[in-house]
């Protein structure tokens, strides 16, 4: 496939995906990521010269509509967090472009970027590491307000700031007077709420949620997810929701991108992806979701081997070293020589696999049955 057609496919990313904004109006694009690359240098040798790169994010393109909840899933180390951080310019991009609300974040001047930071915020995974232990909550949330203060908003004034801090504490379900307390006086869930209040206090439109519930108790997870959901309607937010918990993403997101080794391998609406995954990796990933019923047996599609090193990714399709479909098809040469582009199937379902047409429920079941490793959800029931 030529670069032109590849680009054309990227261009054809549908803008008609579901979104929380009123139906009928044409949903506009909140975030457009084009061919984004984030490489980290590896230094070695006596002279500490650059001897290679870690391809953390490698040529990723995605589009998020205003009001959408876009989920990003993938196993540890696949680059999903790096992608989120690169979009916010917390990490230096090696190439590509990130357009937020019509502004190219990677080309923008420093002063403009500083202003754009109001529009984009981040919620962190670790509720313990994300709050400065030496600061009371009023300062934790107020720091951003001070940094973004201007004549219009008057955030440089203590009274204005305190009121806003209190308002946002209430918005995330905490008491106003908690603002005088220190982080160590709060539970994990409360701390996460403070982190959310900090992100929202600047009035962002786009929020990267970097595994916001992974570090929390299951009971707290649902509270935080519901809170994020409510806040989205209240403040018209657009989320890039990074997670590795597939059930959480299924519950929370409208559209999902699956990442493997720095690349997006499949993008689809939630129901489509969970009902009919077309990339062999997504199939394996989804079959790994545990069923909360010990009596129900389930054949899982188990991938062989480990994730290859992102410093030395496999040629062609990055998944070909572990791909069950390739094995089934008799190891076609295409897999290891040609990098598969994201191809669009019906209703914006995009898959980066040469043989996505071959994937179906029957094939998956057959393959799982043939596996020598038999994995069941739990011990043998009587």
């Amino acid at each position: 496939m030529t670069p032109q057609t590849e680009q054309a496919l990227v261009d054809s990313v549908p803008a008609d995906s579901p979104n929380g904004v009123s139906a009928g109006t044409q949903p506009d694009v909140m975030l457009e990521v084009r061919n984004l690359k984030t490489y980290y240098p590896i230094y070695g040798g006596i002279l500490r010269r650059r001897i290679g790169s870690v391809f953390a994010v490698d040529d990723v393109s995605l589009t998020i509509s205003r009001g959408e909840r876009y989920g990003l899933v993938g196993e540890s180390g696949c680059g999903k967090t790096t992608l989120g951080r690169t979009i916010l310019r917390l990490e230096k991009a090696t190439g590509g472009s990130v357009t937020l609300d019509g502004e190219d974040l990677l080309a923008i001047r420093r002063s403009q970027l500083h202003r754009m930071r109001r529009k984009m915020q981040i919620i962190f995974q670790d509720p313990y590491g994300s709050l400065n232990p030496r600061m009371p909550v009023s300062d934790i949330i107020g720091e951003g307000l001070i940094a973004q203060a201007d004549r219009e908003n008057g955030w440089s004034k203590r009274a204005v700031r305190d009121k806003r801090v209190g308002d946002y504490l209430e918005a995330v379900g905490l008491r106003r007077d908690y603002s005088r307390r220190y982080p160590h006086e709060f539970s994990g869930g409360q701390r996460q709420r403070i982190g959310i209040a900090r992100a929202l206090s600047l009035g962002p439109e786009f929020v990267v949620c970097d595994e916001p519930v992974s570090a929390l108790d299951v009971s707290i997870q649902s509270q935080i997810l519901n809170l994020l959901s409510d806040l989205r309607t209240q403040f018209n937010l657009t989320y890039l929701f990074i997670a590795h918990n597939l059930s959480v993403v299924q519950y929370f997101c409208e559209r999902i991108g699956v990442m493997y080794l720095g690349k997006i391998v499949e993008v689809a609406e939630t129901d489509v992806l969970y009902g009919n995954p077309l990339h062999p990796y997504s199939v394996a990933l989804l079959s790994a979701i545990p069923i909360p019923d010990p009596r129900q047996r389930k054949k899982r599609l188990v991938l062989k081997g480990d994730v290859p090193s992102p410093a030395n990714p496999p040629s062609g399709c990055r998944f070909h070293t572990r791909c069950w479909l390739r094995e089934r098809l008799g190891n076609p040469a295409e897999c290891s020589t040609t990098e598969p582009p994201l191809r669009t199937f019906q209703s914006g379902h995009q898959v980066a696999c040469h043989f996505a047409e071959q994937v179906s429920a029957d094939v998956v079941q057959e393959t799982a049955a043939k596996q020598d490793v038999i994995e069941t959800a739990a011990a043998e029931p009587d």
Binding site: L113, I122, N132, P133, I140, I146, A147, H184, A199
Partner: protein
């Protein structure tokens, strides 16, 4: 809180036992938990650290002597009062009622006055040199650690180079050529060659702190680098800095004593604990032990006090410690 008409009477109790007692007397009292910040918690832990309290008492006593002592027993090298009785070796403590620490040999100066003034100057040099060295070291270390890259490499190679120079030799040479004998020179020399270890310490702490999520949160909000360093990173690096600084005071006092003892330090006209000792060298063989003993004890008390205090600070400032 908002609808309170009259200001309520507020009593603060610190322990559960005290609270119980208060509630037994006044069962109608409302109880509210007031949160302590990190420093209040650290102070609590410090207060319970016995050695730290002993050490602080020792150190603070010496500081008080150093501050107030010279006001009463001022030392004038050009106006040494004539002794009421000439004794070549000077009189020992017991035999000289107005000289509790005895007299020096030959000039029969009052050792007590010397020591009191020596404590003042030694402490001044120790604290001043430490303050300057810590400021330089903290700044350089935090800049190197936070920005990393080329700047870090350059700054740390400078630190390595300076650390590889023999400090004692440098101090001797410098004090000889930069206005030898003045305590200001000695202070500056110790400050200019004492910041490297602090810089390394601060760099290593900042290196790990800059990866913290809260630093990223600040960067995502557009907080400036300098503000992140001073408001977010350094306050969290403060505990090791405080501990290192307190121990450095002791190091400088000993170092000054050493250099003065060799005769390259502060002039005997302005007594420091070191140059008093230096003067006492010959007197020891004549049996005049008190000339050396009392300034020596002063050094021991100061340095030991600081070391105990530093130990306690280390424990108290550890945020993982309980209560």
């Amino acid at each position: 809180m908002d609808e309170s008409t009259a200001a309520p009477e507020v009593r603060v109790v610190e322990s559960p036992a005290a609270l119980e007692q208060l509630l037994a007397e006044h069962p109608d009292y409302d109880v509210q938990l007031e949160s302590l910040n990190q420093w209040q918690l650290a102070w609590r832990r410090f207060k319970r650290h016995r050695m730290a309290m002993v050490g602080s008492a020792m150190f603070l006593t010496m500081v008080a002597v150093g501050i107030f002592g010279p006001m009463i027993w001022s030392y004038n090298y050009y106006n040494v009062p004539l002794p009421d009785q000439f004794v070549h070796a000077g009189r020992p403590p017991m035999l000289s009622p107005f000289h509790p620490f005895g007299e020096t040999m030959l000039l029969q100066r009052d050792v007590f006055t010397l020591v009191v003034n020596g404590i003042r100057l030694s402490l001044l040099i120790g604290v001043l040199a430490t303050v300057i060295a810590t400021t330089i070291g903290t700044f350089i270390g935090s800049v190197a650690g936070y920005f990393g890259g080329f700047l870090d490499t350059v700054l740390m190679r400078i630190v390595d180079a300076l650390l590889s120079l023999p400090l004692l030799f440098l101090i001797l040479v410098f004090s000889r050529f930069l206005g030898a004998g003045s305590w200001v020179t000695v202070t500056l020399i110790f400050a200019l060659f004492g910041w490297m270890s602090i810089a390394r310490l601060v760099r290593s702490v900042v290196l790990s702190l800059r990866e913290a999520d809260w630093v990223d949160a600040a960067r995502a909000a557009g907080v400036s680098d300098m503000r992140i360093i001073f408001r977010h990173v350094l306050p969290n690096a403060l505990s090791p800095i405080i501990v290192a600084a307190s121990l450095s005071v002791a190091g400088v006092i000993i170092g000054e004593a050493f250099v003065s003892f060799l005769g390259y330090g502060v002039n005997p006209s302005t007594p420091t604990l070191g140059n008093i000792l230096s003067g006492a060298q010959d007197a020891l063989t004549e049996g005049n032990w008190w000339w050396a003993f009392f300034p020596g004890m002063a050094i021991v008390i100061i340095v030991m006090g600081i070391n105990f205090m530093g130990d306690g600070l280390q424990d108290a400032l550890d945020p993982r410690a309980k209560i």
